[in-house]
Amino acid sequence: MQWIKEDVKQYIQAKEYVDTVIVPLIPYHLSKDSELEKNAFQSEVLSIFAKEIEKELSGRVMLSPNYYYLKSGSKEEELNRINSWSGDARTQPFNNIFFVTFDSAWKKDEQALDGTLIWLPGIQSGDLKSNELHSFIHDQVEQIGEYIKSYW
């Protein structure tokens, strides 16, 4: 399920079946020209990625809106904010909270996150329309799906 009216309507009726939130963590900045392309591309890929996972497991998963943060910003502040997202979800109760990201910076702070971090190394550049990328995403989605299922 996604953060759209149709899905949310369904969610309210089937609350007891939905216990997992996925939050994509996506860095954003405009200050470093050399990294812009890479970060924008990763942001696109991660959004697609998150949607694909949601599609496979839509009946039990709520895909939250993307969480954007300033790459150069204070990690501590962001951690607080992210954890307040988790806190809000946990009251529902959503028992499983997953963060997906391409940003390795979160790996260091994994312990402080209220939820499970799924850090995906890899994709720096490529063509979103290419078949290789499609099958790459497809395979990754399958594996991450397996991983998420193991928590159920």
Binding site: Q10, Y17, E56, S58, G59
Partner: protein, 170 residues
């Protein structure tokens, strides 16, 4: 004699020609406009078309296999490629069956023999919904309806699939 020969006078001839040419030009202008006006009617709905899913009929076995394909979908804001998938197999009467993998409970994607405990069944990983091979839901599991069935046809040895319909409606 000469009277009879001149049944078409010069004036008449010019009239006819001008009317003819004028009419032709008018039609040339009007027809595209008319076509534009009724265009939505003429356009075949993309959704209703059956699409070649890239699976040869001889490759279809009694064992359900997953096929994925893409269709163009236009909604109010976007035109996009939408991924579709189906579980395809031949039943005992040698008929091709294409089932939608979307669980009728809350819309997860089911897989054939997705759980080792339940061979020969479709299994939904989200809440343990199960279906028989023919798509019939198994009572006692969350789904309350059988899996949707795709419209299908075979052309030149390839499988074409269209829309998925709830069973009974198709």
């Amino acid at each position: 004699m000469s009277e009879k020969k001149q049944q078409v006078s010069r004036r008449q001839f010019l009239n006819y020609t001008l009317t003819g040419v004028g009419g032709f030009m008018a039609a040339g202008m009007l027809v595209p406009m008319l076509r534009m006006a009724v265009d939505p009617v003429l356009q075949e709905s993309a959704a209703g078309d059956l699409v070649n899913v890239g699976l040869a009929v001889e490759d279809i076995t009694n064992e359900p296999q997953r096929v994925d394909w893409k269709i163009d979908q236009v909604d109010a804001w976007y035109e996009s490629k939408v991924g579709k998938s189906a579980w395809v197999y031949k039943n005992d009467n040698d008929e091709i069956v294409a089932l939608s993998p979307i669980c009728k409970h809350l819309g997860c994607v089911v897989s054939w023999e997705g759980s080792e405990q339940f061979p020969d069944q479709f299994y939904c990983p989200c809440h343990g919904g199960r279906y028989h091979k023919d798509g019939q839901n198994i009572p006692g599991t969350p789904p309350t309806a059988p899996l949707d069935v795709y419209e299908s046809k075979v052309e030149n040895g390839m499988l074409y699939l269209g829309m998925a319909h709830p069973r009974g409606e198709a």
